[in-house]
Amino acid sequence: MKNRLLELLQDNCKFTDHELAAMLNTTAEEVRKQITEFENSGVICGYKALINWEKVPGSEVRALIELKVAPKRDKGFDDIAERVMGFDEVEGVYLMAGNYDLAVFVKGHSIQEIALFVAKRLSPLDSVLSASTHFILTKYKSNMVDMQNLSSDKDERECIV
């Protein structure tokens, strides 16, 4: 039941406890208890709206920055990750295996602004060896959502008899 509950909430966190209980064949109390446990243990980290910012006027620019960094003795990558996470411009930080170490998702009002942020604030950090910036042109799919409505979600099924 645990994973099903999480899957349902990931799909739509607006299901009521009662609806979830019906689907999972349990009681609303049990569902509430389970959700509270998930919240307390950090499995559920929040409930936020999925926004397609590209559709909002005066939209922002987003970029993926590949950072190569020198890990620190004892602290590994945690130290630098924490520094990078601290910037308001930074939306996401991932430690990667491969050609670079940290994938950093950044937002700004213009290409200029992001370029300056990388040059003046990110690159000068002690452990940063190199930064390469990729601007995001279009988000096709994000958080399991087709952001451009490309795959027409029109129901193609016919009522045949």
């Binding site: 609806e19 689907m23 099924r157």
Partner: protein, 395 residues
């Protein structure tokens, strides 16, 4: 110069007098509307599992584009019989008892045309799938309707059969798990009707296309009931269990003397079922048990949400044990099935099918399909809830 043809004198009267299906009506209106949320479709919302599609593609790549034997690919028939034994404990011969058809519907048509003729009566429990009645008429026989009842959860009882049997009755159709009610016959329910069937020497056409979509009970085949295999033609297929509607593939299993006649009809009218679909179906039967399980779990979750919500709204709804439909009673609204469906569509843009489309005994009910995502179902239920509230207030 041209003359105006009087086509009426050419057209077959039986066909001409057959009414088109009533399910379509609301669908067509809904299709023209904006922001419609439909719960009217009777086919799975899942895509055919990828590994099954892949085998269809592979067969095309390898140039397997010929006809298959009339009965279907021998390997497919072996897999069908293996599957039927594994899931239902009934043994059939792939060589003599099996016919691969173009969907379950060709098997229904073929069985009726091979078994009944002018002067015969066919017992059809309703509410049920809209095809049985017209296909019986086309086969030349007379349909006799058994109205199953909500208080029996729309299951068929021996008394109901007994009531309608005459010395002309030849065949009984068993439409379980049922479209549109979601009713299922358990092993015990089937055993209860077997003696009546034997007593009146009836032949049975058991449409088990939804058998894999059974919830909280083991799927049962009527042929598994003692003494019934000899007098039963099983119709099933890949559409519902494996989400393969568009592949058009089904099958009939039954006694050799019947299947051989059906094969003859199939040979002349159809020749063979689609080859690509047959290769894909082999994969489905070999490696598809897990897919069935996964899809059934999804359906089951939706089923519980929808039954729970309808009962909470005051549209009483027995717990359906099969297929992907619920059949709530709408009598408390004071509306007829048609009025309910039409008002719901006009005011809240939610499409359901009036129960009356499935026979007169469906009056007072609507068919609601849950072959939709839970998100979609939640939105539709919210709108139905608002609809009921508003119609209550306007009273």
């Amino acid at each position: 110069m041209y003359c105006i043809m009087d086509y009426d004198c050419f057209l077959n009267k039986k066909i001409k007098n057959t009414k088109p299906s009533g399910i379509r009506k609301f669908f067509d209106i809904a299709n023209e509307m904006e922001n419609v949320i439909s719960l009217s479709i009777g086919e799975p919302d899942f895509h055919t599992p990828w590994h099954i599609r892949e085998q269809g593609i592979k067969s095309l790549e390898m140039g397997k584009t010929w006809y298959t034997p009339n009965r279907g690919l021998s390997q497919l028939r072996v897999e069908i019989c293996g599957y039927f034994e594994r899931r239902f404990g009934v043994t059939y011969s792939p060589d003599t008892d099996t016919l691969v058809t173009v969907g379950g519907s060709e098997a229904i048509d073929g069985a009726l045309r091979c078994l009944v003729e002018e002067g015969d009566e066919v017992l059809i429990p309703q509410p049920s799938f809209v095809c049985y009645e017209p296909l019986t008429v086309m086969a030349g026989a007379a349909p006799v309707i058994i109205e199953t009842k909500a208080e029996n959860d729309f299951r068929l009882t021996p008394e109901e059969i007994e009531e309608k049997v005459t010395d002309k009755t030849k065949l009984l159709i068993l439409p379980y798990p049922n479209n549109p009610t979601g009713a299922s016959m358990s092993r015990e329910d089937y055993e209860a009707i077997a003696p009546v069937i034997e007593k009146h020497n009836l032949i049975v056409l058991s449409d088990e296309i939804y058998a894999e979509l059974s919830y909280g009970m083991k799927p049962t085949s009527f042929a598994a009931v003692k003494g019934m295999k000899e007098r039963t033609v099983i119709v099933s297929g890949f559409s519902k269990a494996y989400a393969m509607t568009g592949w058009r593939l089904g099958y009939a299993l039954g006694p050799e003397p019947i299947i051989s006649q059906m094969t003859k009809l199939h040979q002349y009218a159809i020749m063979s079922a689609p080859t690509t679909a047959q290769y894909a179906a082999i994969e489905a039967l070999k490696n598809g048990d897990f897919d069935i399980e996964e899809m059934r779990e999804q359906y089951d979750m939706r089923r519980r949400l929808i039954v729970d919500s309808f009962n909470e709204m005051g549209l009483t709804c027995f717990e359906p044990k099969g297929a992907f439909y619920v059949f709530p009673c709408i009598k408390s609204t004071g509306l007829s099935s048609e009025e309910f469906a039409s008002q719901l569509l006009m005011s809240k843009h939610v499409a359901v099918v009036p129960g009356s489309a499935f026979g007169e005994s469906g009056e007072g009910f609507v068919r609601v399909s849950y072959s939709y995502s839970v998100q979609h179902i939640k939105e539709a239920l919210d709108r139905i809830r608002a609809f009921l509230k508003e119609s209550k207030n306007s009273d």
